[in-house]
Amino acid sequence: MLAQPNQVETICSFCGTGCGLVVEVEDSKISKVKGYKENPSSHGETCVKGALGWGYIHSDRRLTQPLIRKNGELTPASWEEALNLIATKFAEIKDKHGPDAFGCFSSSRSTNELNYLAGKFMRTVIGTNNIDSCNRT
């Protein structure tokens, strides 16, 4: 476990090696990322992407709120509005065309918990096995 309160142990977001990293935070921003010595896969090592490639997290290109297409343009909206629209449209399409009219591209960049729920959602709420991610390679 880590000594400093501003340090958090996590895993790198890039390739499938899964190196252990220590993220240091100052003023709600990442100040430094280094290898975590106790990690049994990477033993404290990290590559250039892991140590320096995290700038995108603080990028001004980050999505900060839901967007809905209105009159052809993606327009800021509340969660309530976005979720209602999705639920309505999904239900409508399911009624009209059945569950196999849906597909899900899930993410091999996100967590097990996300991938599990995406699969459960497609199979139990929508009712199709049409889900994939790039993990057949």
Binding site: V8, G53, S108, N135
Partner: protein, 542 residues
Amino acid sequence: MGAATGSYDELEDTEVIVVWGSNTQECHPIIFNHMRRGIKKGAKMVVIDPRQIDQTKLAYKWLPVRVGTDIALANAMGHVIIEEGLVHQDFVQKATDQFEKYKEEVKTYTPEFAEQVTGVPAEDIREIARLYAKADKATICWTLGITEHHNGTENVFALINLALLTGHIGKYGSGLNPLRGQNNVQGGGDMGALPNRLVGGWNYDDPKGRKLHEQVWGTPVPEKIGKHQTLMLEAMENEEIKAVYVIGENPVQSDANGNHVEKVFKNLDFLVVQDILMTRTAMLADVVLPATGWAENDGTLINSERRIQRVRPALKGPGVSRHDHQIVQDIAKKMGANWKYQCAEDIWEEIRKLAPNFAGVTYKRIDEEGGLQWPCPDEHHPGTTYLHSRLWSDDVGMKAKFMPTHYQPPAEEPDAEYPLMLTTGRRLQFYNTGVQTRDYKKVKNAEEALEIHADDAAKYGFIDGEQVKVSSRRGSLVTKIKISKKQPVGLVFMSFHFPDQASTNVLTNSATDPLAGTAEFKACAVKIEKCALLNEPDHIVE
């Protein structure tokens, strides 16, 4: 369940490391460090790759195989091993099936025949076959150079056959290791985000697995097999699929034959994209949902040695972004589902009930002991360093089958009109479609360039640094040319990290492996022409 059979540390305790279709040094630098330490301790590394990548400098031998001819090479190695009596007889007899069928298949693959197909000298094929077979411990590692072909699954079978022939499987220091390209490729598959698998590797039609899921979920599991990505794209094109939910992927820029992919996404009735950054795919969406990213989200990942590890939030996500798993639950609840997960750990607890291999892994154990390698069937189990040790036990159980495979050329080969072969890959400092790495500092060469052998450049009259137009049967783009010693004559290379500058996947071929649905990113025929648009270097020709 598909997974690496071994662990990274074993690379430091083996005699032969065959690196086949993997630029490990650039794409998996820390796994390469394990290999490097193994080499220091005396292991011989054999690099099998069309390009003279930097890691060939550390290799005992580099076999410059022609793109897409790996089966011919592997089968010729098998031919030599059988012909010279180097087969591990005990192992083959006790633990494997279909050896005779394999022997029959590789009979015609003499090293001389393979030399003509692969370009690797027959004597080198013999030498490496002997080296691999005679070692006490030997391991094969591969990545997309093996799988991103129209016959990728068969390529993998060809490598598995070699391990079965020699008994280099199921013991410490020997194994078959696909190195995963993204942080949770392994976990995504293990979690059932696949059209033919449920959670924990159950086949979608396995009655036992279905029953377990139906008990835990309280709803029936759909009976029909799902569509993999390539089939989904086809179904989107012919309007069978009307609505798509994309989570943290950018298929418009990452999938082969990009122009076509964009067209079929535009064709949808309704598209929802959930991501951390605006992407070309998200720009086509009806609804875009903001997710938390790395260092913000919570949960687990599984790495290339089957280790289940924790990611933890160090920061709050920007604006009103939410965790990926939370968003899926929000949609499910709006549609009437009775889901009540309070946190990522609640979800993991449900996963444990469905996947016997993960049953012994808890968040508490990961916090206290560090990540654990599956299979880990109960809370006292330490996790598993390498798979298939049963093959060496008295109780072998189900025998491992040889899967004879037949060499077939790439789906598209150079011809008079498109005379060069293009292969694609990653570069050290960058990642995939560049959404995350486009704007990071301190790195050189932050632009795309087509790498080409000096003789090819001279033949077409190109100079280093010149802008050229590159075309395939599917699309074209403009990029800079870079004369490179890595390239053999006839083969050019591009990455796909800078799609706004040069959208490499407009060129690539979506010819698909019928077994896995993986497109042939690694081989397509192109032509290169002088570029009239010299003053517009960023222009993408549509």
